[in-house]
Amino acid sequence: MRVITGKYLPRRTVLRSLGGSIALPFLDAMMPALGRAAQVKPPVRLIFGYVPNGIMMRDWTPKSEGGAFEITRILKPLEAHRQDMLVLTGLAHRTGEGPAGDHARAGGTYLTGVSPKRTTSADVEVGISVDQVAAQVLGNRTRLPSLELGCEATRMVGSCDAGYSCAYVNSMSWRSATSPNPPETNPRSVFERLYGSLDIDTDPAVQARLNANRKSVLDYVRDRTGELARTLAPADRRKIDEYLTAIRDIEKRIARAENENREITPSMEKPAGIPLLFADHVRLMHDLLIVALQADITRISTLIYAKEGSTRSYPELGFSDPHHPLTHHRNNEDWMEKVTRINLHHMEQFAYLIGRMKSIREGDGSLLDHSMVVYGSSISDGNVHAHHNLPVVLLGRGDGSIKPGRHLTYGEKPMTNLYLTLLDRMGVPAEKLGDSSGKLEHLAGV
């Protein structure tokens, strides 16, 4: 049994990763709350959102191509952002195809382009995911190399789909072929991961005073410990000396942290837990993602709106049918309508994220301008589990490296070609990812 109290990593992990040099949140809290360092060029961010069980493609794909594409029913919430959006048609995840187990394979392949190994035990294996390829190169520049978020709290275990491990639908980020990065679903834990578990007063004056207090406490304990060590016979003071060493170590780390001058003031209240309503939950996760990006705590993130194969129901939409069974609609009009409404509901949430990213000014543009946000599914038609012609939108300008406002159609290209291109825009060298066959053309223009 694993007990996790308000924090993301199990303590073991923290201990292991604490090579003595990583500043823990507490130390961050001791850093002076100085303003942002002088204007520097905003970094480029990479975000992947995922919705499960395919999309009602008839209500998704615009009929016309190019800049004059029409806004379809499911894309409607993004209408205000059409100039920031690329609709990409014709991408495929053929590695998701095979006998029974389409949902698990779809989940496993989405960011990896690798068909997952069929197993229900611990020997899961797929491939490194695109976000982690980026995080392994860029992660050392931010406090968190990447941030994995999810909006479906329950984790399934064992076999989820025809002999495939649930790991393939629980996580879409994979540090390596065999190590999933499970998403954090509790907003409070996300907050504590970003800011530490101390409650920090948002008033800068109070914060400065608390920091000064902490330093005087440290001074006191250093002096007192040194004094005590001197009063003890050398043989008796071994343990006290250990303590003194620990104090000096912490002082050094604070000095280091101060030199970095990073701002860590949270710009939101600490959330209490997981809200019951889906929309509330997603909104909180979006808000947390935004503060993490804004404060440059991380530049890479993945967000699972619902897990592949999700049976979540959305009574707030006026019907309680679980999602996945509905998508096997066998062309029943009533069911298809319900699927579209779930797709639309997800898209409305996503549009909120985009709206907020667009409203945040940064350097010569907005946070969205400096980002690349992919939203889509690894299945197109859920009724027949089609793994090609996938629904994909790409939002943001990648700091000018992307020319949005268009609907692009490709004959058929691996989805991973898109990822290679995005990695390229991030300045991350990568020749191949999963089943990629090259870079995707036309993102920056015709």
């Binding site: 049994m1 694993r2 996790i4 109290t5 949902h103 275990v157 005590l228 679980p322 996945h324």
Partner: protein, 791 residues
């Protein structure tokens, strides 16, 4: 002459110079050379200086004194010679020994001390790195180290604690998530197709669901009184066509809420985890939370063949041949074969339906909602020594408050200079614009990371004695009464101990002393093999722990004879454990005292928890159990096995030869026999109890033979025989318990010089019918305890 020559080659000069050392080598070197190294002891590799290889020399001494070496059949030294040898080793062992004077508070002590100092029960140390242990306990000065990570956590904790004491906890609701490592679901429930363990077979199973694999048991510590939301996330489903099942929530042994668990309309991938939650007001402190699925085999569609089948119409079953996609005629043969197999599997599943049961997968506890605001009256009372709890302080209050607190935090008188410094800290905060209370909070914060608080600095004098007493018996700081008496210089350990034992805080001895001595703590993580011991479940685990804890606590409360531990005719049981023991007439989740006369139990050695903790996951081990008894009951720990010992053939146990026969084979080798002749018979006496402590008469296909003969010739059979042997050896047991208590009380391993004290404790305990309090009194009156830090 040959002996001397050999000696000259083997023995370093320093040792050889002493005639006793020469005698020792004359008798021992031949077998314990680098080449032979009998019993794993190579004297050539042993440091010539006794002080440098202390542990090994201590063990050598023990074997010599016990008359176990040289072994039977070898030339033995004259008793006078042996005495010269042992006196020499003992003298060397005692020389130049110093004890650490600084002993860091361990996690339990830290939590308790903060609670008693400030009335703040946040238990922040539970988040500190795990304390190392030595000599069986985690309060040993040598092994309690300090790392930067620990200090950092202590600094963060100090701030949180100080603010909680002065400003209240201001607890925002927090979510704790408990993931069940492997949701334990019922894989096997079809009584026709497969054999199932009796109690959850469909005919006769635990209808409350408390003992089923999918039930959830947790004792959770709630940080403050308030409303908490407990959300249980389930896995599994009731198959289509089932009648509603149920999930029940239990808190502290009471059923508080039921929810229906409806059937699920789809099957296969639609496993559909779901959640149920309750909101309830709970007091601060630990509460036992259970979620269980009662009567879950009932109301299933008839084809599952469960009791009281569903009366609903089961929806038509899918046609397996149509459930998989048609393949084009030119599909590769591999794909076609795969499809054929998938269809065959699906058909088999239809013909032999399996209900995998419902399970708890994850629990989230969120709260407190609407907790009390502001500092607790308890904290204010403990902090504001000036008595102005309304905050209307007067000049001089700050110094009084800080000075009084420092005395309590450091558990000794403080100097004016020390108070000056802490007061200056408080004042500087105020100078920066903080309120009066924030100044106090900073002073408290500083005290909590001061080495004077974090370490117990052993010294002479009444205050050090007060701390030794309170950390021994209560695992916390001295109370006001102890501090006052220490201040008067009038502290007498023997006068304090009875009052302290009667105080509820002495429960710390159960959790921390007995929890480690009897390895109760280890039970929290043992994982008996599920296939072999399907009876083991979380309810049983929790019940096992509670039985031994209650038994030990009762021993303290009623001041019973410690002989009860090995030979009692009573214990404490609830229904679950009584069923495990085959004892009738105990129903319900509450524990009660049960008379064991005429049963197959009695004494802690027959507690299921101890039998489980001294077994392997897959089988019992007479060796482990024998070793456990030697170490923890008879005070004669065997040395570690020599390298290159052939392991027992696990596969063969119970199939090709009985375990006993295999072990007897093992003992033909004289090197093995020297220890196993003592260990194994003790363990064999308990062979009627399996690896989770249930009674058995067969091990695999072999009948249990619970007879054994000790090296001293005594023959015993079964628990009864073992109990009578241990009754005869009660002095050895008393000495063992005395040594464990001393180790725990002193925070160090025992030495030769402590043996006189142990002997005296045992003698006095014997004269007082071995009452528990007589051992405690013996320890606190002993010279090592009284003079710890002195010398």
């Amino acid at each position: 002459m040959k002996g001397i020559l050999l000696l000259a080659m083997l023995v370093p000069t320093a040792v050889a110079q002493s005639p006793a050392a020469a005698l020792f080598h004359q008798h021992c070197a031949a077998c314990h050379s680098a080449r032979t190294a009998s019993g794993g002891l190579n004297l050539e590799s042993l440091s010539a200086s006794v002080g440098a290889d202390r542990d090994k020399w201590a063990r050598i001494l023990k074997r010599l004194e016990a008359g176990e070496m040289p072994p039977a059949g070898r030339p033995r030294p004259h008793p006078a010679e042996l005495h010269r040898i042992t006196t020499w080793i003992a003298g060397e062992l005692d020389r130049g020994r110093t004890h650490l004077k600084a002993r860091r508070l361990n996690r339990v002590e830290y939590n308790n001390t903060v609670r008693d100092l400030l009335g703040v029960d946040l238990r922040p140390a539970s988040d500190f790195p795990q304390d190392d242990s030595a000599f069986g306990f985690d309060n040993i000065a040598e092994s309690l180290s300090v790392s930067p990570l620990l200090l950092e956590k202590q600094m963060a904790a100090a701030e949180r604690i100080a603010r909680a004491a002065l400003f209240g906890q201001d607890l925002k609701p927090q979510t704790t998530r408990i993931e069940v490592a492997i949701p334990r679901r019922m894989e096997i429930t079809n009584p026709v197709k497969l054999t199932v363990p009796a109690y959850y077979s469909m005919a006769d199973y635990d209808v409350t669901g408390l003992s089923q694999p999918g039930a959830f048991h947790l004792t959770h510590r709630f940080p403050a009184e308030g409303d908490y939301v407990i959300r249980v996330i389930g896995a599994g489903n009731r198959p289509a066509g089932s009648q509603d099942g149920e999930i029940t929530f239990w808190i502290d042994g009471r059923l508080v809420q039921r929810f229906p668990v409806p059937e699920v309309m789809m099957s296969g991938f639609e496993r559909r985890p779901d959640f149920w939650e309750i909101r309830t007001r709970l007091t601060a402190g630990p509460h036992e939370i259970i979620a269980a699925f009662p009567r879950q085999f009932e109301g299933l569609p008839p084809r599952f063949r469960g009791p009281n089948p569903s009366k609903k119409q089961e929806p038509p079953l899918p046609d397996p041949t149509k459930a998989f996609r048609e393949l084009p005629p030119d599909a590769p043969p591999g794909k076609i074969e795969e499809r054929r197999l998938a269809i065959a599997r699906a058909k088999d599943q239809l013909a032999n339906p399996r209900f995998e049961g419902l399970a708890v997968m994850e629990v989230e506890i969120t709260g407190p909602h609407s907790p009390r605001k502001g500092p607790s009256p308890e904290s204010l009372r403990r902090v504001l020594a000036c008595g102005h709890l309304d905050g209307r302080h007067q000049a001089g209050c700050r110094r009084l408050i800080v000075g009084t607190l420092a005395q309590r935090a450091f558990r000794r008188p403080v100097t004016a200079k020390e108070v000056d410094r802490l007061e200056a800290l408080a004042a500087s905060t105020q100078a920066r614009g903080g309120p009066f209370e924030e100044g106090l909070a900073v002073a408290v914060q500083a005290m909590l990371v001061s080495p004077d608080f974090l370490f117990r600095l052993e010294s002479q004098g009444p205050h050090a004695l007060a701390s030794r007493l309170s950390y021994f018996l209560w695992s916390t700081m001295p109370d006001d009464e102890l501090l006052r008496r220490a201040g008067d210089g009038a502290i007498v350990a023997a006068n304090e101990a009875p009052r302290m034992l009667a105080d509820p805080r002495s429960r710390a001895l159960v959790e921390n002393f007995a929890g480690q001595w009897l390895e109760i703590r280890r039970l929290e993580s043992v994982q008996p093999d599920r296939d072999r011991f399907p009876d083991f479940d979380e309810h049983l685990r929790a019940s096992m722990i509670k039985e031994t804890e209650l038994f030990f606590e009762n021993l303290i409360r009623e001041d019973r004879s410690i002989v009860d531990l090995i030979d009692a005719d009573y214990t404490f049981l609830n229904e679950r454990l009584a069923r495990h023991y085959g004892i009738a007439g105990v129903s319900g989740t509450q524990f009660r005292r049960v008379d064991l006369k005429g049963t197959r139990r009695g004494g802690v050695l027959a507690h299921a928890g101890i039998l489980t903790a001294s077994s392997y996951a897959t089988r019992t081990s007479p060796v482990l159990r024998g070793k456990w008894i030697l170490e923890n009951i008879l005070n004669a720990p065997p040395p570690p096995p020599p390298p290159n010992v052939p392991a027992l053939d696990e596969q063969a146990v119970g199939s090709s030869a009985s375990l006993k026969a295999q072990l007897e084979q093992h003992r033909i080798n004289p090197v093995c026999a020297s220890c196993h002749a003592r260990m194994d018979p003790l363990g064999f006496a308990l062979e009627n109890y399996d690896a989770v402590g249930a009674w058995r008469t067969q091990d695999g296909k072999f009948a249990i033979d619970a007879r054994g003969a000790l090296p001293d010739g005594r023959v015993m059979e079964g628990l009864g025989g073992l109990r009578s042997v241990l009754r005869q050896d009660r002095d050895a047991f008393a000495a063992c318990l005395a040594e464990k208590l001393m180790t725990y009380a002193l925070g160090r391993g025992l030495e030769r010089a402590d043996q006189d004290a142990v002997k005296e404790i045992v003698a006095r305990a014997a004269a007082a019918d071995y009452r528990f309090s007589s051992l405690i009194l013996g320890v606190v009156n002993s010279r090592p305890f009284q003079q710890r830090g002195g010398q």
